[in-house]
């Protein structure tokens, strides 16, 4: 079999017409993948077996433990590496473990050495340049994005598909931009709008809707590891919802991503720092706190700072920097020291794992802020008239009665208080090594020195950082298409996956930073206006064969709704959803006995009235015991930064949408709405289907749902069953509710 593969591989090379005898090879395209997969695990950053490492050119050309040199540029045949790769003795041949390299691979390496063994930086370390947009034409080619996508499709004999059916398109757009289904009116007016700008009008409307900020906040809160509790043992309550509200507001106001970054990483150090910017710094106060008796506060303060380093890198750099905590990076050019130099940026804030979460600032709810403003205005007026001291005193009293809640924030220590940062041997905080000063890693560049947290934040969004613009554009792309152009959204390093469309990624990154001036709304609009986004979801055997995982974007992705969307949709369609925004987190219905953490008397107090029906992102998140139905649909427990959720498809999900009282109540509410559609059950069922999916059911679907209705109403009970017993039971469950529950469990309903 192996020979077949080999000959296939050779065949492929020949078929591509490559004369590989002396051809110039690209290090990044041809050589790096071989080294990364076949050699790196023994000859990388951590292990340098035999003193040979291929992490950098300098190391690869260096003298090994044996005193020999493995690679002699220009002289492949004299290079020890080639001898070792081709030695017939399996004891000597490299790689020592695993199959030998194919002759095609060896030939590539030979050519590369003969050509001078030139090194290229890993693609993601080279700042993105705006590439030429390829000339492409086609029916659904609408903007630059489509040119890049079509070019790749064409290579495979494919092209962009026609536009998605309008009702499905607007439904997906609505979920993608604001996390909610469209309203029936939205759909109707879109269908009736014959203007060529009809689609764009809906896009603009959704981008401007307040629900937009709520939707995107969910994504950001996964990265910010936002939760309403401190984590660890007792997992006590934490008051930090004001940060969640800040994120919603920032998205809705389209705060440019550079500002968005600066304020969260160093809002307290900005020259114009105000309350709002301090609230933003709670981003890094979402680290866990340990109140367990007997714990060392310093140990957990250090753990928090380490988490901040890792999170900063996960979010803005898309790099697994956490490896470097214990040792030099095995695959990417980061030293052990780089980690602690970066940590020094974040090691000088006042917080120290104290139970009171100090430092904190007082914050008010939106309603409180309003009342306070009114009172302050009145006091000012009364004060100036100076003739009603009683009234003045009573107003003053009312003002003082409005008690704020506290919000943990970042506060930089003064110059005298600064902590010294040490390198920790193997990442162990009890084994401090040499002292280090703040700096960005040596493999990255900066034209001026980066000395403190604010400077670090500015560097993050500067043009010399090759990562932030790519990582962020990729993240938004991933949110809309189900996977990023770099599928490993969390890893842009050499072990991450290569971009499926490198030029498109760079184009988007530069567009985002320059033309769009870091406007997220502009970036999203550019993407959703593309033909690639708007194409149909249809799949046929050929498409599945050529592009089984839709890496080429040969169709619209069909994705299961997120945990938040599953809940929000059920509430929206049934008419239960509250549109109330902001404020402390709420507790919708959850089964008894879920909260059982130790040493903590707190209990789940189901919210009253409308607060039971708020959007999912307002649901109280306790890290050790998150809201069960959300977890079932893959929402994380927010202990750590999560860069992407992997959607699962499990029986427990079916049980949630079938039986969870929240979802059953939604079915009951939908059934009430269905009743208004007419006397005939078929009219009611048809209306319910349309309310949920915005189109009439086909005759077959209507037939199936009607069958369920009749079964439930007792009309279709088979004769051989005990009629009396069944009819009794079924009196309790209104047939229309059962039908509504079924509609809300259809694949088409939980998928967008």
């Amino acid at each position: 079999m192996r020979t077949i593969i080999l000959s296939l591989a050779l065949l492929f090379l020949f078929a591509c017409g490559s004369d590989h005898s002396k051809k110039k090879v690209s290090f990044n395209e041809n050589i790096r993948p071989i080294l990364a997969s076949k050699c790196m695990s023994c000859h990388g950053g951590v292990k340098k077996l035999g003193g040979f490492s291929i992490l950098t050119r300098e190391e690869a050309l260096g003298i090994m433990e044996s005193g020999e040199v493995a690679i002699i540029p220009g002289l492949a045949d004299s290079s020890l590496l080639i001898h070792l790769l081709t030695d017939p003795d399996p004891e000597i041949r490299m790689p020592q473990e695993g199959e030998p390299l194919s002759s095609a691979e060896i030939q590539l390496i030979k050519n590369w050495i003969d050509n001078g063994a030139e090194w290229e930086e890993h693609w993601s370390f080279i700042p993105p340049q705006k590439p030429e947009v390829p000339e492409m034409e086609g029916s659904n080619v609408r903007n630059e994005i489509d040119h890049f996508i079509s070019e790749r499709l064409k290579e495979k004999g494919l092209s962009l598909q026609v536009e998605q059916e309008k009702t499905k398109l607007i439904r997906r757009l609505s979920f993608d931009l604001r996390g909610l289904p469209p309203t029936l009116e939205d759909v109707e007016s879109f269908l009736n709008n014959k203007s060529p700008e009809a689609y764009e009008q809906v896009v603009d409307e959704y981008l401007a809707s307040p629900a937009y900020g709520e939707h995107w906040a969910s994504m950001w809160l996964d990265l910010a590891r936002y939760a309403d509790s401190k984590g660890y043992e007792a997992d006590r309550h934490r008051e930090i919802w004001k940060f969640r509200d800040w994120v919603i507001g920032a998205f809705n106001n389209d705060l440019p991503f550079d500002e968005f970054t600066l304020q969260q990483l160093a809002g307290d150090m900005l020259p114009d720092a105000d309350t709002n910017k301090l609230i933003a710094t709670a981003f890094h106060r979402n680290t866990m706190n340990n109140d367990e008796g007997g714990t060392d506060d310093e140990e957990f303060r250090v753990a928090s700072v380490i988490d901040r380093v890792n999170t900063t890198w996960d979010v803005w750099m898309g790099m697994s920097f956490s490896c470097v905590q214990c040792h030099s990076h095995p695959y990417d050019p980061f030293d052990h020291e780089d980690y602690y130099e970066f940590m020094a940026f974040l090691n000088n804030t006042r917080d120290a794992d104290k139970p009171d979460e100090s430092p904190t600032i007082p914050v008010y709810t939106v309603e409180q802020e309003r009342t306070r403003a009114v009172l302050q205005q009145q006091i000012k007026q009364t004060g100036t008239s100076a003739n009603s001291p009683d009234q003045w005193a009573s107003l003053k009293d009312s003002l003082e009665k409005i008690k704020p809640t506290t919000l943990p924030v970042m506060e930089e220590l003064t110059a005298e208080e600064r902590r010294t940062t040490y390198l920790y041997d193997r990442g162990n905080w009890l084994a401090p090594g040499k002292e280090v000063s703040p700096n960005i890693p040596g493999s990255l560049t900066s034209s001026k020195p980066v000395t403190d947290r604010l400077a670090m934040a500015r560097w993050m969004i500067g043009a010399q950082n090759p990562f932030t613009s790519r990582v962020t554009a990729n993240r938004f792309w991933g949110a809309l298409f189900g996977k990023g152009i770099v599928e490993t959204q969390e890893d842009f390093g050499s072990q991450g996956m290569a971009p499926s469309h490198p030029e498109l990624l760079d184009w988007l990154a530069v567009y985002f930073r320059e033309e769009a001036q870091w406007s997220i709304k502009s970036l999203l609009k550019k993407i959703v206006m593309s033909g690639a986004y708007r194409q149909s979801e249809l799949v046929d055997a050929n498409l599945l064969q050529v592009d089984p995982y839709n890496k080429l974007i040969s169709r619209s992705p069909r994705l299961r709704l997120t945990a938040e969307q599953v809940r929000d949709q059920a509430l929206a369609i049934s008419g239960l959803l509250s549109s109330k925004m902001y404020g402390p987190s709420v507790m919708p219905v959850q089964p008894e006995g879920i909260w059982q953490a130790v040493y903590n008397g707190s209990s789940w107090q189901t919210s009253k009235g409308d607060d039971q029906y708020r959007r999912a992102l307002y649901t109280y998140i306790r890290r050790t015991s998150p809201y069960p139905s959300m977890i079932t649909f893959d929402s994380p427990s927010r202990e750590f930064c999560v860069n992407r959720r992997i959607a699962t498809n499990t029986p427990l999900q079916a049980l949630v949408t079938l039986n969870d009282p929240v979802y059953f109540e939604a079915a009951e509410a939908l059934a009430e709405k269905m009743k208004l559609a007419g006397e005939e059950p078929t009219d009611q069922i048809s209306a319910g289907y349309e309310m949920a999916l915005f189109k009439q059911p086909t005759a077959e679907i209507l037939h199936a749902l009607s069958g369920l209705y009749h079964e439930a109403s007792g009309e279709a009970i088979p004769e051989n069953q005990l009629i009396s017993e069944k009819a009794d039971l079924r009196e309790n469950i209104p047939p229309l509710v059962l039908v509504a529950n079924a509609i809300m469990n259809l694949d088409a309903f939980i998928t967008k």
């Binding site: 043992e233 367990e292 714990t295 979801e537 130790v598 079916a654 049980l655 069944k726 469950i733």
Partner: protein, 488 residues
């Protein structure tokens, strides 16, 4: 062809390269297969086939499943298994300086007093195992177990130590042992989750549900907590007024319409959803049956000390046997309340500790006897223990003598026992120093324990990995030595 197989078949047919390599690798199995497909992501593996399909192991497995009895809070080894006559002699004396040097404690301050064993010890069985009088039932089964006396860990606080033990890392976010096992072994029961968690003692462990979480593994591998009160699995019971037949009809209708959607669109994920709705219905039938202990004969209830309908460790032990019979892969029990510092009556060696011993002694003994009698012990690995050990010194929180007798946390020595599933019966392995403070022989780090458990299940702990954030992660991090001496 059932719909699940059809889904697998369709995926394979659509992806010729995958299909081709699958043919080629033949029996090597999915793990080797995925490593060959270097460019494949885990999510693709998930999509490609039933992720809970049993996968071939690296070695011939000795155990098919694990019943893990975790004693949350950590029982004192010095009052149960690790008999130290010398400590008796030192009782009440100041702790020598050299024992305190370089040590960090949770609560001990200044110079504490040594504390002798609080209960009488005797040797039992053919093996002559030392067991204290707190576990009279257990003394009857000592010849079936291996008592491991020199476990050690890196953490001396509950939450991090529990995480290290169950997930291989002291910080949150890693998959639990049960998740790894489920990921590696898949499921052998189509009607039940393959990783089931049962909690008693009124509280979940300190580290919360993360100890049975799936971390960065897909959530399909996380532990499913079954409860002996209320719905045994969340949202398992139908809404009031809906009978089985009607639920069946409703799922049939949903699946019927989904099948039409599949025919129209061709997305294979729809087939998985159809299968999962079928599984949900099967679970509705089989979980309540598996979790219903009321029909067990009286003799069984007497042996375990069970009371149907209540939440207790005894009930959970009996449930563990029932789940083992039904081929659940990883059955994780937690019993809370072992943290005997002496700070309160409930947390004292002279009070609460005695109650805990009573609560576990009879049922865990009955579980071993029952498994053995049913021929299940050979293929079921039973593991018992806490997350760390207790100090040979008496705790003196705040530098003062406390009202009740207790011991502080310590990480350098504690006792666990294992039985069945390829473990040597009737042995004591490892030794601690004369006061039971540190292991001196046969030390087993918690990572070694994990490596050994994985080995007994047929997996090389270094090879069962999952890519996350740029590297391949495994349960044992970068550590773990198999303890071959305790394997038959």
């Amino acid at each position: 062809m059932n719909i699940y197989n059809e889904s697998i078949f369709r995926q394979a047919a659509f992806n010729t390269r995958r299909h081709f390599i699958k043919q080629m690798t033949g029996g090597i199995g999915a793990l080797a297969f995925s490593s060959l497909m270097g460019c494949n992501t885990a999510s693709e593996k998930m999509m490609a086939s039933n992720p809970l399909k049993a996968q071939p192991a690296h070695y011939i497995p000795r155990a098919k499943r694990v019943i893990y009895l975790h004693m949350a809070g950590s029982p004192s080894q010095l009052e149960l298994f690790d008999y130290k006559p010398l400590l008796e002699k030192y009782d009440g004396k100041d702790c020598p300086e050299e024992l305190l040097e370089g040590k960090r404690f949770a609560f001990i301050q200044g110079v504490p007093k040594m504390l002798g064993p609080q209960y009488k010890f005797a040797q039992h069985g053919q093996s002559g195992a030392w067991v204290s009088d707190r576990l009279p039932h257990f003394t009857k089964v000592v010849d079936d177990v291996a008592i491991l006396k020199a476990l050690h860990t890196n953490e001396f606080n509950h939450a991090p130590a529990q995480l290290l033990l169950h997930t291989g890392s002291a910080r949150l976010g890693r998959p639990s042992m049960g998740s790894w096992v489920t990921y590696g072994l898949g499921s052998e029961n189509e009607n039940l989750p393959s990783f089931i968690v049962l909690v008693s003692g009124g509280k979940t462990p300190s580290a919360g549900k993360s100890v049975w979480g799936s971390g960065f593994l897909p959530t399909i591998y996380q532990g499913v907590q079954c409860r002996s009160e209320g719905d045994p699995v969340l949202y398992l019971s139908n809404p009031k007024g809906m009978d089985k037949a009607l639920r069946q009809k409703s799922i049939e209708t949903i699946n019927n319409i989904n099948k039409k959607t599949y025919n129209e669109i061709g997305d294979p994920e729809i087939l998985t959803r159809i299968a999962q709705y079928e599984m949900a219905f099967k679970m509705q039938m089989s979980v309540p049956e598996a979790m219903d202990i009321s029909r067990e004969p009286e003799s069984v209830h007497t042996a375990y000390g069970t009371e149907p309908g209540k939440s207790s460790f005894a009930n959970n032990c009996l449930l563990a046997r029932r789940l083992a019979e039904r081929d659940v892969r990883f059955i994780q029990l937690y019993h809370w309340g072992w943290d005997a510092h002496g700070a309160s009556k409930e947390e004292a060696l002279d009070y609460g500790f005695k109650d805990r011993c009573r609560e576990v002694d009879k049922p865990m003994t009955a579980l071993l006897q029952d498994l053995k009698q049913r021929g299940l012990l050979d293929e079921t690995l039973v593991v018992w223990g806490g997350e760390f050990g207790r100090t040979p010194m008496r705790e003196n929180r705040g530098g003062k003598e406390m009202q009740f007798v207790g011991r502080d946390h310590q990480k350098d020595a504690f006792t666990m026992w294992m039985a069945g599933g390829g473990v040597k019966p009737g042995i004591s392995y490892g030794k601690t120093d004369e006061i039971g403070y540190s292991g001196v022989e046969g030390r087993i780090h918690v990572h070694d324990l994990q490596a050994t458990i994985m080995h007994l299940l047929g997996f090389n702990h270094e090879k069962l990995t999952y890519p996350f954030q740029g590297r391949d992660f495994r349960l044992t991090d970068v550590h773990g030595q198999i303890v071959n001496d305790i394997i038959t």
